[in-house]
Amino acid sequence: MPSRILIVEDSPLVTDAFSILFRESGYDVDVAGSVAQAVEVATTRPADLILLDISLPDGDGLEVLEQLRERNALPRATLAMTGHGDSRSRQKCLDAGCAEVLLKPVAISELLRRIEHHLA
């Protein structure tokens, strides 16, 4: 069964691009545009990996991890995506339980490599 990736990101432009990328690479894909939606989707259809945008319209993306932890629904790995790469926000993501922090936009070859690595 293919691995399932949940894309949490509020811009449909970006989720459309990633959906194509991941489906063409053989993954199942879910999309959520907010913290609330991400928690709902991830609890009804558990993801193997979450690609998590940090700034969401209804809060900090890291809240998704917090709520999923409470519900025992954490994925195998979460990759955070952030617009700014300063070490403080990077550390915050790692402390919250993200396996890795990627600087937006990530080159697709690199992104696929990282995902493959974390799902291996």
């Binding site: 811009s11 432009l13 970006v14 459309d16 691009a17 990633f18 194509i20 990328l21 063409e24 690479s25 617009g83 700014h84 790469g85 300063d86 070490s87 403080r88 937006k104 936009p105 080159a107 697709i108 070859s109």
Partner: protein, 271 residues
């Protein structure tokens, strides 16, 4: 009280009132200008952020096409799509530079100090710039620094500063030229580190030594200028170095090259 004194008192009070009104007006103007400046900063920040998202989507789509994930492309198609990726990437770099500048110009910037080897950091930045330098057959050398003790500073900001200086050096140096980085200690008890980024580029006229550090400034600002960019790189570098209580300046000879210097008080950010 004499008549003359009464008159002069009245005149004095009138003048005082006038001055007070003027002071109030001036304060109002200052407040207004500050508010407008904050608005401008907010606007630049919002627009840069909003430009970034669709651009990221464009680049990702173009990469998907370029890498043949939706079917193999012929060479011409691949070259064209590669052009979209590269152009998008360049645009994104410029937007990022504007965002960095906006953040550095506002009060949001603090130093996040840590201990690190500046020689190693320079080597990282050299490596990042290697592809660009190789295209122009330019060498980037670090002349010394293996024996420097670790410094305490904001690593991200020093890296950004070095990136801007070395990137500029490559940009303004003709093919086959040289870029170098060297270190020395100076000041009281050798408490200051002096970093030099030199190049064999076209140089900067003495009249322009200050201008180049001003935001949005390019010595040649004409639309046909050969070098494009935001004109923010050195303004950001100056802001970051000044945050560390260092100074930054340039010495140059037209046609021969430029040497950019900055100082870092050792231990600055530890407070």
């Amino acid at each position: 009280m004499s008549m003359t004194q009464q008159v002069s008192d009245a005149a004095l009070i009138k003048r005082l009132n006038a001055l007070e009104t003027k002071a109030r007006d001036t304060q109002r103007t200052i407040d207004e200008l500050r508010a407008r400046d904050a608005l401008k900063t907010q606007f630049l920040s919002n627009i840069s952020h909003d430009l970034r998202t669709p651009l990221a989507a464009i680049i990702t789509h173009a990469e998907i096409l370029r890498d043949g994930m939706l079917g193999e492309l012929n060479q011409k198609q691949r070259d064209s799509v590669t052009g979209i990726v590269n152009g998008g990437q360049q645009l994104l770099d410029m937007i990022d530079e504007i965002l960095t500048y906006v953040r550095s110009a506002s009060d949001q910037v603090n130093l996040a100090g840590s201990e690190f080897s500046i020689a190693e950091l320079v080597d990282q930045v050299r490596l990042l710039n290697q592809p660009l330098a190789a295209k122009k057959q330019i060498t980037i050398d670090r002349l010394n620094g293996d024996d420097l003790p670790p410094i305490y500073a904001d690593r991200d900001k020093i890296k950004h500063t070095l990136g801007n200086l070395i990137g500029n050096a490559i940009k303004f140096t003709p093919d086959g030229g040289r870029v170098w980085i060297s270190f020395s200690r100076r000041g009281k008890d050798e408490g200051e580190l002096l970093v030099e980024v030199g190049d064999t580029g076209r140089g900067i006229a003495r009249d322009h030594y200050e201008l180049v550090f001003r935001e949005f400034a390019q010595v040649d600002a004409s639309p046909s200028r050969p070098h494009h960019g935001t004109g923010l790189g050195l303004a950001i570098a100056r802001r970051f170095i000044e945050l560390h209580r260092g100074t930054i300046w340039v010495e140059s000879e037209l046609g021969k090259g430029s040497r950019f210097f900055f100082t870092l008080p050792l231990n600055v950010a530890r407070e």
